[in-house]
Structures are given as structure tokens and as C-alpha cells.
Symmetry: C2
């Protein structure tokens, strides 16, 4: 296929550029009016119990792409920030999906949960395989990361080759999966790489990220020295790490026990693609509880102090059949994800209070990152030698620092994209040619809503200021027949009597505000509501120094 005169190749990040998580990248080809798109990855970010007002999942808003021609959704690997939004957003995008086998298993689970398994065409692509979608010729490139089957994508178009790295590191001994396919990367450089769209997560980290093999050795040593029960916590999706913990258990004569739903889920997915075949048998919590403490190793979810995760509940003494105490050890084979510091410290405090010993990556090298540190980034640029560097996957500070690094490395062009920047890669020079709508969607309970929805502003207000409800029954002649009744929620006084007086005060306030209305005004619901709301809110401010959400309900007889 050859490029036509008006053809353009564009890159459009809709998630993950300027924020952590929820990666959604789109590549468009063709004349502007007839662009055909592929989407690369479609992930989520998780809400935090204490700050996201009950929102569990945060998704990129794909609205801009909804009317467009989408040839396919191509997934690089199975981390939630790359696949987690698929089942939620697919009904709006309705494109075929492509993934390697391990990723496909986890994607299928998600589709099944949302009742989409029969609707979505999911094609498995073998490792190092490829596919063609219209003008896009896509090849999976084997990389290393902290999950099985991490892939970069070589996306060939009539206007040039884009190398989309996905998430990666250069692990000299990843334990599971092959080494980084640097021969392929060098060959691509010879062919000519127009642009590299690259992971920025660890751009502030000097040196290299280290190897899973080193962690395995260290974990084995550390577990070997423990006396009582041992719990290792790690991300379940890091199957090499899970295998390391299982091997460390065997080496120290301990029987492993998996704790936590996602640990079981990923363990099953890994076995289904032929991984974790030579690991020792795992037992359940009940069996483990019967064993000599020195003969058990728990492998737990919850390294980030998530409130409902296994480890948090164990720390609280609230997990059936697993209890840790003086003489036992918890090994955090994990890092502290920014924003989780307080939750993780609370977990540390709770375990220490029980006399449980803690070993974290600060004490011993029991963790390595899955993302490239600066030396690895330098190596990747040396291999791929792109003409344009486009850092993604990071906060603004990461992306800007990555641009600086790319310029130091003499990449001819480097752009720092924001979500919604439509970047023309070819014909060059690369430039932001448009800004399209982008944003966030929230999974709120069972409903998908926009981040700017008034309901969320109301919830923020309710959280800080509380709620007051006023109801009154009014006759056809505009006389009050009952009420105003006032209900106050989320506000208190130092004693109950004072609180009752405050509620009565609000009722009198509503009555007085009504009294000041003319007969005609009393007949207009909106006027009555606005007047009473204003009066009651003012009274609440006087009583509590708060501005609650006030609602007035006028029942007309």
C-alpha cells in the first residue's frame, strides 16, 4: 500500500499522557475526513476509598472516537491500566480486539463479567505475531516487564513505522518469557523508525531497574532466614515474582498458600498458558492454619494497603484462618505506589503493633520495578533510533523530563503530548494539529458517568457540608397544611439538645421565609424552593459555619 497525497499519520493519546494509569492511545491514518483508527490499549485507574467519593474505576473518555472508523483495539499486555476499560467502553467503540494468549484469558474474564463475551470478537495473536488492519501493519515485539507477555508494537503504515513500546524494562533475566528482542529493535532502526511512543514512568530513576532473577535469589535468602510464618505480598500479575515466592517456599521447606481473589485468578490464568507448571502444590488457608508456622508461606494480595485486600484484613486480625503475630514476618515484594503512602504505613503500623517483623524493599532488594530507569531508556533510544520521541505513560513532570532526555540523546524531534492532543507524525515535522475532547469517565456503582457530572459535585459538597431537607404540604389556597419538616444529615452539635434546637431553628427559618412571600409567590414552586433554600442555607451557616446542600420539597394538595 502506498501513501496518497492527502494521507496523514496521526497519534492521539486519550489517556495516560499527563496522568498515571488509564492508557488509551489511538493512531489514525488517511486524509483527515476519512481517517481510519486503531486503538492501542484501553485501561483504567483505580479510585481511592478516601478521596474519590465512592468511585471505584476511572476510565478515559473515548467520546471523540465514537463516530470514527475504528479498525481494531490492540492490547500490548494485561495490566489493568492497559486493559481494564475494555469491557466498559467496548459497547461505545464496537471494534474487534487483539491480544496475546495470556492477555486474552484475562480479557475474556472481564468480558464475561459484563456479559459481552459473545459480542466481542477477540483474536489471539501469538507472541511475535502480527496482524493487518487497513493501512496498519502491526507486529508484536517481545519485551520484558512485570507481567507475562509484554509486547511493544511495530506499527507500519505507508507513511512510516511507529514503535509503540507499551510498558517495558530491560530485564537481563526475566525468568518467564523471552529476553527483549533487541535484534528486532535494531532491525527496525535500520528500516527507519519514524516515531517511538514510550513509557515514562521511571524517567526520574537513574541507572537500571534490575532483574527478576536477583529478586528471586534475594527472596529465597530472606525467606530462608525467617522463623515463624512468612507472608509475601506482591502484585499477582507479576507471575515471575509469584513463581519466585513459590520457589522460595520450597527452598525453605514451606508449603505455599495463596491468599486473595486476584492471586487465585492470575495463578489460574498463568497455568492455563503453561506457566507455573513446576511450582509446588498450593494449599488453602484452612490447611495452612493447621501447619507448623515454620512450614507455611502465604502469598498475598494487598501490598498497597487496599482496605478490602487480604493483607489489610490480616493486619486487622479479620481474615479467617490466617493470623500473623510475634515471630512472623511479612515481606513486601512491592513498591509504594504514589498516593498509597498513608495506607501502606497504616498497614506497617498494624503489623508492627502485633509484633510482626516487616521486610520491605527499603530493607532488602526484594523488589524491582517493571519500568525502565534512565539507562534503559538510553539503551532503547540507541536500539530504535526514532526520528520523533513521544513520551507517554506518566504525570506531566515525567513526560517533560522524558522529552528533555530524548533531546539530550539527540532525537531530532520530541513532543510532550497531553491527552486530547492530535499529533500529526507524518508528513512531518511532527506537530499538535488539533485538540480534541478528552477527559475521564467514572464507574460509579453500576453506572458510567462523566467526571464533571453534577452528581459528583453534589457528593463532594455532601461529604464536606452535609445535607438539609425541608418538606412542607401546601393547600390549593397556598396555606401551609403541614411542615415545614426539616431533616439534617451529616451535621452535628456537641450535644443532642443543641442539635434539636438547631433543627427547630431551621424549621422556624423556613417558616419565616415562607411568611415573607406574597400569595402569588407561594404558588410558584421554584420561587418557594429558591427562597427557602437560601434562608435555610444562611441559617445553617450561622449555626454550623457550613453550607449544606439544601433541598426543599413542596407537596401541593
Amino acid at each position: 500500500m502506498k501513501a496518497k497525497a492527502n494521507d496523514e499519520l496521526v497519534f492521539l493519546p486519550l489517556g495516560g499522557s499527563g496522568e498515571i494509569g488509564m492508557n488509551l492511545n489511538a493512531y489514525g491514518y488517511g486524509p483527515p475526513e476519512e481517517r481510519q483508527w486503531i486503538i492501542v490499549d484501553i485501561g483504567v485507574t483505580f479510585g481511592r476509598e478516601d478521596s474519590t467519593l465512592g468511585v471505584d474505576l476511572i476510565l478515559p473518555d473515548p467520546t471523540y472516537l465514537e463516530g470514527e472508523t475504528i479498525l481494531g483495539i490492540v492490547l500490548t499486555h494485561a495490566h489493568e491500566d492497559h486493559i481494564g476499560a475494555l469491557a466498559w467502553l467496548w459497547p461505545r467503540l464496537k471494534a474487534p480486539v487483539f491480544a496475546t494468549p495470556f492477555t486474552a484469558i484475562l480479557v475474556r474474564e472481564k468480558l464475561r463479567e459484563r456479559g459481552l463475551l459473545d459480542k466481542v470478537k477477540l483474536t489471539e495473536i501469538p507472541l511475535k505475531g502480527g496482524l493487518t488492519l487497513g493501512p496498519f501493519d502491526i507486529e508484536y515485539i517481545t519485551l520484558t516487564h512485570s507481567i507475562p507477555e509484554p509486547n511493544g508494537l511495530a506499527i507500519r503504515t505507508p507513511l512510516g513505522l511507529v514503535y509503540h513500546t507499551g510498558d517495558w524494562k530491560i530485564d537481563p533475566d526475566p525468568l518467564i518469557g523471552e529476553l527483549t528482542d533487541d535484534a528486532k529493535l535494531r532491525a527496525m532502526a535500520e528500516e527507519g523508525v519514524l516515531a517511538m511512543v514510550c513509557d515514562s514512568t521511571n524517567v526520574f530513576v537513574e541507572g537500571t531497574s534490575g532483574s527478576e532473577a536477583d529478586v528471586r535469589e534475594k527472596l529465597t535468602q530472606v525467606v530462608g532466614k525467617c522463623a515463624g510464618r512468612v507472608a509475601v505480598t506482591a502484585f499477582a500479575s507479576n507471575v515471575a515474582r509469584v513463581e519466585s515466592a513459590l520457589f522460595a517456599a520450597r527452598a525453605s521447606g514451606r508449603t505455599p498458600c495463596l491468599v486473595g481473589r486476584s492471586m487465585h485468578r492470575i495463578y489460574g490464568a498463568a497455568q492455563a498458558v503453561g506457566l507455573l507448571q513446576d511450582t509446588p502444590r498450593v494449599i488453602n488457608e484452612e490447611e495452612a492454619a493447621g501447619l507448623d508456622p515454620a512450614k507455611v508461606l502465604y502469598l498475598c494480595t494487598g501490598s498497597q494497603g487496599e482496605p478490602r485486600a487480604a493483607l489489610t484484613r490480616i493486619a486487622r486480625g479479620d481474615f479467617r484462618n490466617v493470623s500473623l503475630k510475634q515471630g512472623d514476618t511479612v515481606i513486601f515484594s512491592s513498591r509504594v505506589i504514589p498516593g498509597n503512602e498513608m495506607a501502606i504505613h497504616a498497614l506497617y503500623n498494624a503489623f508492627l503493633e502485633r509484633g510482626v517483623e516487616l521486610i520491605t524493599a527499603d530493607d532488602q532488594p526484594v523488589h524491582v520495578s517493571g519500568h525502565p530507569a534512565r539507562d534503559e531508556l538510553r539503551q532503547m533510544y540507541a536500539w530504535a533510533r526514532p526520528r520523533i520521541a513521544i513520551p507517554v505513560h506518566g504525570e506531566r513532570r515525567h513526560i517533560l523530563e522524558h522529552v528533555k532526555l530524548a533531546r539530550e540523546l539527540q532525537v531530532p524531534e520530541a513532543l510532550a503530548p497531553n491527552n486530547g492532543d492530535l499529533i500529526r507524525l507524518a508528513p512531518g515535522p511532527a506537530a499538535v494539529v488539533d485538540e480534541v475532547p478528552s477527559g475521564r469517565l467514572y464507574v460509579d456503582g453500576g453506572v458510567l458517568i462523566e467526571a464533571e457530572d453534577d452528581a459528583l459535585k453534589d457528593r463532594k459538597r455532601l461529604a464536606a457540608e452535609g445535607a438539609v431537607n425541608v418538606s412542607l404540604a401546601v393547600s390549593a389556597k397556598n396555606a401551609i397544611l403541614a411542615g415545614p419538616n426539616v431533616t439534617v444529615r451529616g451535621l452535628s452539635m456537641s450535644d443532642d439538645e443543641e442539635f434539636e434546637l438547631a433543627v427547630e431553628d431551621l424549621e422556624r427559618t423556613a417558616e419565616a421565609a415562607w411568611a415573607k412571600l406574597s400569595h402569588a409567590e407561594r404558588g410558584e414552586d421554584e420561587t418557594v424552593e429558591a427562597t427557602l433554600v437560601r434562608a435555610v442555607r444562611k441559617a445553617a451557616d450561622r449555626l454550623w459555619k457550613k453550607k449544606p446542600l439544601v433541598d426543599v420539597s413542596v407537596l401541593r394538595l
Copy 2:
């Protein structure tokens, strides 16, 4: 004064032991039934906009002490976590207050704000001075910290000398105030120190904390190399640091401009006690805006990314007369307080997006902590040689680590107190002899409430699940005359029509639930409310997968 047969000396932490901030320590003397108390420090912790549901200030609950004989409240220094609760809790404690001059100025401001200035007897104690309160003979010991006039207290009783360190470091050149009075500490050791109650904040930090003098030199260098506008952000209460920034301005030919309310407040307090006399004249924002960028240095509050602080508003481009852009520099002469990581990173991102250069303590040594690192702790134990170590001022992990360190240093006894532990120091051995009620109070708007108040549970629920209000007017014959009307707050649907259908669904649900009630049940408000609440909540769960707070208001005619 001599000890009588039944006399005991006890220590009771009610805040700050097992948590950061809100220090409240009490010492009791006498037979258990006739104890006389002194309170040492009475501080707050600040709420966080995104996680404390609109609560601004968190206070220790002093209820246990309210009926007791309190001889005085003795303040070590003026940081908010040591004095911030005084004006809120004094009405419950009503004891005379003692503080050194700088601290006294800031305390008076707080008392004035709460209308207590005339009621509270506040006595100024000179540096190195002392006071006697019943059996307690108290001497102020000069230490070094990150605020003027930091003091330890030597508390002599007939049963022994307790050394309460307050907050401290060993700064070999603190710039403001005298050096650590180690001669006095050594003399106390000769006299015999029964117990040392000591700061644990930096027990995980090896080495020493460094000196304000080093920061001054570095700040001067760094500012000297800046081209455009410079903004330095630091805690206003660190007057030595403020002076350093003012001197750095002068050395580089810049005129300083103070930005932020607390910067002005502390600047005034410092000048009132004779500090900051030789510093350059400061100008206001309007004047500064008119100067050549290379001639200005802003000294700002907001190093922690506080949403309403000067620096955050400047980063948003939302601060009158102060704007920073490409070519300007912000110097964070501060640390990242745990829990503020995300807010501070957001601040970094916003400045970087504007092209503003950032210099933080990660890049250059432009900050030192005010708390002792491990070598300083070792030195303090060597000076004071206490028989009992009681670490306070830290999370549980800090306090437990500090106990470990004290044991390594061969302190004969070491206890890890929790808030509410009543610890008998003498006659020995030291032991927790009782657990008394302790907890947190919240300043919520203008009201002081308990942390366990149902109103806060409701707010948490409202934040995550939203609210539904149902009102209906009912005749004397138990017929519905109007309604049920339903108001939904904090819940949404992906489109307005769906939302309206959901509200109608809830109205029908309420009506159907009413229809199932017997005539007699319809006459009982509680039954009607409970039935409708249950039905509506269930419907909400079906519609949204949420469990909103449902209130039903029955208006009887």
C-alpha cells in the same frame, strides 16, 4: 517537697503517640485519688481536603482530664501540632498557660480569634526560665528546632526528674537562638534523669539532620544562579529559613516579597520578639509585579500543595499580581510531609507545564529537617542518660523503632506508649497501669464534635452513595394526599432521560411500599419511614448499585 508514701508520678499521652501531630502529654503526681496534673503541649493535626470530609482541624480528646486538677498547661514551642488545640480545648480545661515570648505571641493571636484573650491567664516564661506548679518544678531547656524558641522541659518532682524533649534536633549553627544547652543536659544526667519523653519523627533516618547554616549558604548559591523570578517556599514558622531566604534575596540583588497569610503573621511575630531586624525591606505583590523579574524573590506559603495556599494558587495562575512562567524558578525549601505526595506532585506538574523550573531538596540541599536523625538521638541519650525511655511524637512504627534504638543504647527501661496509656514512672519499674479514654475531636465548621459522631459516618456515606429524600403528605384517614416526591442527590445516569426514569421508579417504589401497609401501619410514622426507606434503598441498589442515605418525611395533615 518530699514524696509521701502513696505518691506516684505518671505520664499520660493523649495525643501524638501513635500518630503524627496533635501532641498532648500530661504528667500526674500524687496518690491516684488526688493526682495533680500538668499538661505539656496541646496541638492539632490538619484535615486533608480530599479525605477528611470537610473537617479542618483534628484535636486530641481531653475528656479524661476534664474533671481532674490541672495546675497548668506548659507549651514547649509554637508549632501548630503543639499549640493549635489550646484555644479550642481551653474552655474544657481552664488552666493557666505558660510559654516563652515568641510562642506567647502566637498563642495570644489564637486566643483572640476565639474570644478567649481575657479569660486565659497566659504567663510568659523567659528562655532558660522556670516555674513551679504544685509538686512540679519545671525548667525550660534551650534546644534547637525549626522554629524560634524551641524548649525541652526538665520536670522535677519529689519522685524524680523527667526530661520532656519537645521537638528538637542538634543544629550546630541554628542561625536564630542559642545552641542546644548540652551543659544543662549533662548536668541533668549527673543529677539523674528518671525518664526522657522524646521526639521519634526521624528515627528511621540515619546520620544527622544538618544545619540551617548549610541551607542558608546553599539557598544563597542557588538563588544567585537564577535568571527570572524566584519563589522560595518554606514553612513560615521556620524564621531562620525565612531570614535565609531574605538574605539570599539581598545577596542576589533581589527585593523580597512575602506571599501568604501565615508568612505575614509569623514575620510580624518574629519582629515583635526582636528577630528579623537586619533583613531587607519586604514589598507587597503589587510593587513586586512592577519590578524586573531578576530583581524579585517571592517567599511563599504552600510547600505542601495545600489547595488554598499561595503557591497552589500561583501555580493555577489564580493569584493576583504574582505570576510565574518560563524562565522563573520555584525553590521548595521544604520536605514532603507524608500524605501530601499527590498534592505536591500536582503542584510540580502545574509549574512544569508553565515552563517554570523547580528546585527541590531532591535536587539540591535546600532543606534540613527540624527533627533528630538517629545519630542525634544517640547523642541525646548519651547526654541525658535516662533510666526510662518513652518515645512519643510518631506513628506506631516510629515509636517501636525508637524503643529498639533505646534498648540498643542500653537504656534500662523503654516503653512504647499508646494514646491513653497511663504510665507509672515512679515508684518503678515503669509500667502501663491503666488505659484511659482517648480519641479525637474534630473542628467541623464552627462546631467541636467527636470523631465517632454519626454525622461523620453519614457524610462518608453521602460522599460515596449519595442521598435520596422521599416526602409525602398523608390525611388523618391515612390516605396519601400528595407525593411521594423523591429527590435524588449525588447519583446520576449516563443521560437525563434515564435519570428521570430512575426517579420515577423510586416514586413508584415508595408508593407500592405504602400500598402494602395496613391501615394501622400507615398511621405509625416510624413504620412508614422504615418501610419506605427499605424499599427505596433496595430500588436504588437495583438502579445504581449504590446504597444511598434514604430519608422519608411524612407530613400529617
